[in-house]
Amino acid sequence: MATAATTQTDAVPEELSAGTTFSPLAGPALIAGAVLLIIAAAIGVSTGSAAHFWHAYLLNFVYVASFVIGGLFFTLACHLFGAYWATSIRRLAEIVASAMPVIILLFVPIAVFVMNDDTGALYPWSDRAATADDPVLAAKMDYLAPNWFVIRAAIIFSIWWFASRIMVKGSLKVDKTGSVATLRGLARWSGPLMALFALSLNVAAFDWMMSLDPIWFSTMFGVYYWAGSVMGFLALLTLMIHLLQSRGMVTQSVRIEQRHDIAKLMFAMVIFWGYVTFSQFMLIWYANVPEETKWYADRGANSPFGISSMTGWLFITHLLIPFLGFMSKRIRRTPGLMAAWAAYLLAVHWYDHYYIVMPTLNVTYDFTENTPGSAPPFVLEALCLGGMLLVLIGAIARGTSRKWLVPIKDPRMREALTYVNH
């Protein structure tokens, strides 16, 4: 692709080309990201806080992965629904989705660690000897086996990688041919791929995050992660468009109407996230079954109104504030304000993952001696966050290289460039 498109680079007008501006950033960003992650690992090991490091690593891995997952979902959804309004922003989603190989690479350390870990430092169930005695866990041990965990991850990533390859390659092909037949093919693929995507996303959420507390379970958890991911991706997309447009790119193809629609969709996902998260919380809170309530007890849901707790703050910052914040159409049509709200949502999206992953670090199970080490608070988290974000930015920058930033020959572009919101 890179070589084939070389001649095309000259034909890409400044308004649509990002390759020359951003792709030189890819190498340095990837290297800097890797260095930061290695520093974090070194600090974690040297201070005896391996468990802390692995939690911080996983936290930021799922955070960064959520954007790529969201990008893949958005691409699939565009084809599935035949969404003409989104035609001019679909390429940006495809660029994010094509960072999938980097996400898979980032998962490899986790897989290797889980295969070789028998202390339960990250997942308590990887301490096989100690968990065998627990009757609740013993029943789940066949599923939560390290080998099987890695195999499942491999299947999940195969599906995602395959889906993103199909969608991106097909879309790039249309850039040259403008073939409606290819687009129809993508639309046909998008249905089954969406079904596989939904199933695999649930398994991923259960495996990577829910099994941190292997006693706890919630069938809503996959939907919860999905809702947050799509919201996070839309926030990232808003920021990407803002950055590109402030450099004079995609100013004509991505209009205020598209940005308004993204903001509307983001608003919907904020509410949907709140709906799902609260539904999950309320059922567990009401039934008060010990093995379910424990998860929320670990996250400080004990106060009567829940406001002084992590859970309460999550509801306020992740639902109430943005809900009231960009409810107004005027704010949604003001690019600067929406960029600020997107940045805010990216921050609370991180807090959402912190809320899911980190509390299990401080839970001492009866069957492990899994205590955090002496690493200073938030240093490992910050280093891993910086590292992962740099890796993601590097992957996205690399994805912009030698591509049109809009699917120029997609027949739906005409409608995308003319429709009006009412």
Partner: protein
């Protein structure tokens, strides 16, 4: 126009505005833009289909509906929270108060439990505000519009494009405005006046309406009368629900030959949940299966039937009580029996079983003549009873002692029997029955 206001006839039509027709949609949008640029503000456009850009051209004010919906949502939120707080969090000793009724051991007013209702009411109030607010802002319902009197205007649902300038506009002047519309390309301009003709509603319809309204008052008045606090028999709205044709229990009936309203169970019927009890007689009744089967389960109605005869009913023969435990005798079971005994039996029988429980002691100190002092469990007679009989006593009661089958399940009743045996043993064991190592050292 008359120069004297008093002489104005009521049929004088009042000018409402002018209606101008334009050849097509583009002309209409262009004309609308020109008109608002010219300074007219009370302008409206009509077309067979929605037109892009017409809102901007007409300088239509931004609708306030979103704000109304927002206020509706906030109201719904507050109403839901206050209502739930009031009905569940506040209790006053007067009418129409709430209940302080704790649910699932949650706080009386706990926010998470109230969120679903709050959520629903926010949506309900918002959507109703949006629906009715849209009606109100559009001036609906409107039975007639003076524009419909224009022959030309009927084409607006087909191929007519119209611009309307209201007479209430500051710049409005019939002649000047008509000239202006002609100058920007209107194909026709006509003034529209208020409708003043029409027929009166016939008087008899008013009478019918009045009677109908009076009749409509009857049901609510009836309900009010029926719901009062009068001591006279209440008015019945639904006779067939208040007085149903049915037989009450323990009454007679001509319907059946035996004159009873209630029917006997057919032979061999097993009541719900009692199949097990029918099958394991030793466990559930303490009787050997080969014992006196006829004794078992003599229903009260047959006993009374026997009493009617001349000869007094013979005392039923003593059943063949089971002599050993139908459950596995373990140390654990006896501990369970001790616990149950202390809970259910010790209040009367005393912890040691001598019939000196707290209730008995108190009753005797008050000289309660009706109190039957419970038998000491260490009496010769009780000690010689087979376990089945003791079990039966616990299950069905004896003399003044009620049966405990509803409070204590079968397994626990056997546990109590086992503990009673242990109690008896503790007071009547001989020295050689005590293991060597537990005997007191001399």
């Amino acid at each position: 126009m008359s120069d004297d206001a008093n002489n104005t006839t009521p049929t004088e039509p009042q000018l409402l505005g002018v209606l101008a027709q334009f050849p097509d949609a583009h002309d209409l949008v262009a004309a609308a833009r020109k008109t608002t640029d010219e300074g007219y503000r009370k302008v409206d456009g009509f077309s067979p289909f929605p037109l892009h850009g017409i809102d901007e051209a007409l300088r239509a004010p931004k609708t306030i509906l979103p704000w109304l919906v927002f206020c509706g949502g906030v109201t719904g939120c507050l109403v839901a929270l206050c209502l739930q707080y009031y009905v569940n969090g506040v209790e006053f000793p007067f009418i129409y108060s709430g209940y302080q009724f704790p649910i699932s051991a949650k706080p009386i007013f706990s926010l998470p439990a109230n969120i679903p209702v709050t959520f629903e009411l926010i949506i309900l109030f918002s959507s109703l505000t949006a629906f009715f607010g849209m009606f109100a802002l559009n001036g609906l319902p409107k039975l007639h519009n003076p524009l419909f009197r224009s022959e030309r205007f009927s084409r607006v649902t087909n191929d007519g494009f119209f611009l309307w300038i209201d007479a209430g506009d500051d710049k409005f002047d019939e002649t000047a405005t008509s000239d202006w519309l002609n100058s920007i390309g209107a194909t026709s301009v006509e003034p529209i006046s208020e409708v003043v003709e029409g027929r009166q509603v016939p008087a008899f319809l008013l009478a019918v309406g009045a009677v109908g309204a009076a009749v409509a008052l009857v049901p609510p008045l009836w309900v009010a009368a029926a719901a009062g606090t009068s001591t006279s028999p209440r008015l019945s709205l639904w006779w067939d629900m208040d007085y149903q044709a049915k037989f009450k229990p323990q009454t007679t009936s001509d319907l059946f030959a035996d004159g009873r309203a209630m029917r006997k169970a057919p032979a061999g019927t097993v009541a719900w949940g009692s199949l097990q009890e029918q099958q394991d007689q030793r466990y559930f009744e303490g009787i050997e299966p080969d014992g006196v089967a006829a004794h078992r389960g003599v229903p009260a109605q047959f006993v009374s039937a026997q009493v009617e005869g001349d000869a007094p009913a013979e005392a039923p023969p003593e059943p063949n009580w089971t002599k050993d435990f139908p459950v596995e005798v373990t140390e654990e079971l006896m501990e369970r029996g001790r616990e149950r005994f202390d809970i259910y039996c010790a209040t009367c029988h005393g912890k040691a079983g001598y019939g000196e429980g707290l209730v008995t002691t108190r009753a005797l100190s008050l000289n309660q003549g009706t109190w039957t002092r419970p038998l000491s469990l260490h009496d010769q007679a009780v000690r010689e009873q087979p376990v089945g009989r003791i079990y039966n006593t616990i299950t069905n009661g004896i003399r003044k002692m009620p049966g405990y089958r509803l409070q204590v399940d079968a397994e626990d009743r056997w546990a109590i029997v086992l503990y009673v045996r242990a109690l008896q043993k503790s007071q009547h064991a001989s020295l050689d029955e005590i293991p060597e190592e537990l005997r007191p050292k001399r």
